[in-house]
Amino acid sequence: MRVGYFSPLPPTRSGIADYSALLLPALQKRVDVVPVGRRRRLGPRDIDVRLYHVGNNPDAHGWIVDTLRKKPGVVVLHDFVLHHLVAGLTVGRGDGHGYLDAMEREGGVVGRLLGHGVLDKRIPPLWESRPEAFHLAGEVLDLATGLIVHSRYVERRAREAGYEGPVWRIPHPAWEVPAVAPAPLDGSPLIGSFGNVNASKRIPQLLEAFARLRRERPDARLLLVGAVSPGFDLDRRLQRLGLSEEGIVREAYVEEDRLWSLMAACDVCVNLRSPTMGETSGSVIRQLSLGKPVVVSDVGWFSELPDDVALKVPVDAQETETLYAALELLARDEAARGAMSAAALELVRREHDLDRTAELYVAALEQALGGDAVSEAVLGDVARAAAEVGIGAGSAEATELARRLAEVELGR
């Protein structure tokens, strides 16, 4: 089996490029994989299966969707909400009609009218203000001959969007923990937050909860690693909450080794977000690999983390209060942190092992390549036997047969 692998790769700075850099070598040990970049975007001709990594960033994934349109294949859907990607492929290329069509396809006339509002600059761009309201994944789903997802959440959303093809759920693989020493940072506890500093990462709620924690635990420190998004006035917020420089440690973009070192220094890692685009967090995977207790928003993939590795904070009116309670619990209870750490390491060993992930990819690709023939053969066998004893299509018995087949995912 020869696989064409369409994905951004380092030095592109993206979570999906990092993901592919991790997965590709493990996959290449098992099957013949040809990485395809934007310069040879169609890839070689003798490819048996095409594997397209699709995320929400138009700069990194626009060319991949262009190729997908020409040659459908298996799509790894890293984000479910693709509004930003579709905006880049349409509005970003001067194709306003394309954007209107995409909006109408999903939102009907209302969607089209909203699209006009965006193009006429009467309302803010929806891909920035309310991307989750219109996922715009329809075209990619139409073109996908199979879907690989990382979470039940994305699988469910894809089904709700009408996708009927095969779906394989494959956990995000974990990186091998590098031999780096924890960064020498004070803090008891030291709480880390990694990623862009903005409202969708719930930084305002985190700062408020942390400020309250610090009033009772003056030794607590908050490590904020990541660039501050434009328009997010972090300094003013810190000032208003009375968070002195001593309470906060800030670093902007950091290289991989430094990232691990900073994570290793933390007692607790906080990973909040809302809305979710259906993404999986490579940052959380790294933290779990280090055995760190994590606090997450109770949304999307994050909700699916086992309860013994993550404290989940619902995004509701009590969000800050719940977050404070979670931080307070973890600051106070060393045994709880220890139990969460052990559970995290076990989860990574069991679910996120790189070799296991690569095996699951090979399984999915093999099914993508030969699965239809197998399904047809099984259906043929069953249908022939049914017809021989007078069970016709549309009868109650045939419906029962179809239901039983579906239960065990045979004859799709």
Binding site: M1, D48, R350, E351, R356, A363, E366, Q367, L369, G370, G371, A373, V374, A377, V378, D381, V382, A385, L401, R404, L405, E407, V408, E409, L410
Partner: protein, 341 residues
């Protein structure tokens, strides 16, 4: 409790899995339950027939029989666990091994053609769904449980079946090594014959029958083992008991074996077991230097191990006695208690 024990059957063939299902049914009855054995013929070729045949189990309605509820189903071997029941317990004898560790070996079934590769994956998928539905998962050995976790990420509790009931006894430690097994390639009886070829004083008795018999007899002839290698064929209980009672040791070294009753039968007759380091679960059942010898999978190493036992009869007897203690701890009472827990 009304319990249905589910096991596939290959018409005109009987092996360890069939015996186990029958015995389990018997023991459930002996423990006061209303148990019955439910079987469906199974054919795993050609092509996708394996899936359509497995699917037959999905159509069976065992929630009740003759108007009375069936409280529990205990499924044993692929594909019987595809059955649908609200209270399904699986005591896994083994998955369809050709789709797993035997794939791309001489014993495999699926070619490199895309349809065959996909077919193999569909077997995995079916297993994941059907086994994942079970209220409880047990495996007949740690080997089977480990493979299940490794391949499908499902966890099962190892629960060893006791050996068949025979009037085991210990008469003597004569000069022959006994093999009790179905004669097929995976059981690796040819290694024992090659060992006998290397050690002119080694005598072997091979009990059992199967598709590899002709090849094995030909090896024995070519190596000039006439008189030192006896093919006893399929033997009855009395003869088997006699062979166990009088042999020096028992050889048992299938490739990556999941479970076999032979080591524990040998132990009941206080006989040590010779096996190889790549024999899977058997290397757990045989404690090297305590209940038998674990050697490299080479004829010379097996010949040496058999020779050593003959030269060190006291140790051979002590190993057998230690094995008996181990074997007697594995009881049907425990099996029934766990399966119904």
């Amino acid at each position: 409790m009304r319990i249905a024990v589910c096991s596939p059957q290959v018409p005109f063939e009987r092996g360890g899995a069939e015996l186990l299902a029958e015995r389990l049914t018997f023991e459930l009855k002996a423990h006061g339950h209303d148990a019955d054995l439910v079987t469906i013929p199974f054919k795993w070729y050609p092509g996708s027939r394996i899936l359509s045949q497995a699917f037959l189990w999905r159509l069976v309605d065992l929630e009740e029989a003759d108007g009375r509820p069936v409280d529990l189903v205990i499924a044993t071997k692929f594909p019987s666990y595809v059955i649908r029941h609200p209270n399904k317990v699986v005591w896994l004898v083994h998955q369809f091994r050709q789709a797993y560790e035997l794939d791309r070996t001489d014993l495999g079934q699926f070619s490199d053609e895309p349809t065959d590769r996909a077919l193999r994956r569909s077997v995995h998928s079916l297993d994941r769904i059907a086994l994942g539905e079970a209220r409880k998962l047990f495996a007949i050995s740690g080997n089977v449980a480990d493979r299940l976790e490794r391949t499908l990420g499902l966890q099962a509790e190892p629960l060893l079946p006791p050996p068949q009931e025979l009037p085991y006894r210990t008469d003597s430690y004569d000069d022959f090594v006994l093999s009790v097994n179905r004669l097929d390639r995976a059981k690796r009886i040819d290694l024992l014959l090659e060992a006998a070829a290397l050690d002119p004083s080694l005598r072997v008795v091979i009990a059992g029958d199967g598709p590899d018999r002709e090849r094995l007899e030909s090896i024995a002839r070519e190596r000039g083992l006439d008189g030192r290698a006896t093919f006893a064929g399929r033997v009855g209980d009395a003869e088997l008991t006699e062979l166990y009672a009088t042999c020096l040791a028992v050889y048992y070294a299938p490739v990556d074996e999941d479970y076999g009753m032979v080591p524990y039968e040998a132990y009941r007759a206080e006989k040590p077991v010779v096996t190889t380091a790549d024999a899977g679960w058997v290397t757990v059942a045989v404690e090297d230097g305590r209940t038998g010898l674990v050697t490299e999978p080479r004829a010379a190493a097996i010949a040496e191990a058999c020779g050593w036992l003959r030269e060190h009869l006291d140790e051979a007897k002590a190993y057998g006695r230690a094995g008996r203690e181990v074997s007697e701890r594995i009881t049907w009472g425990h099996v029934v208690e766990r399966l119904l827990s």
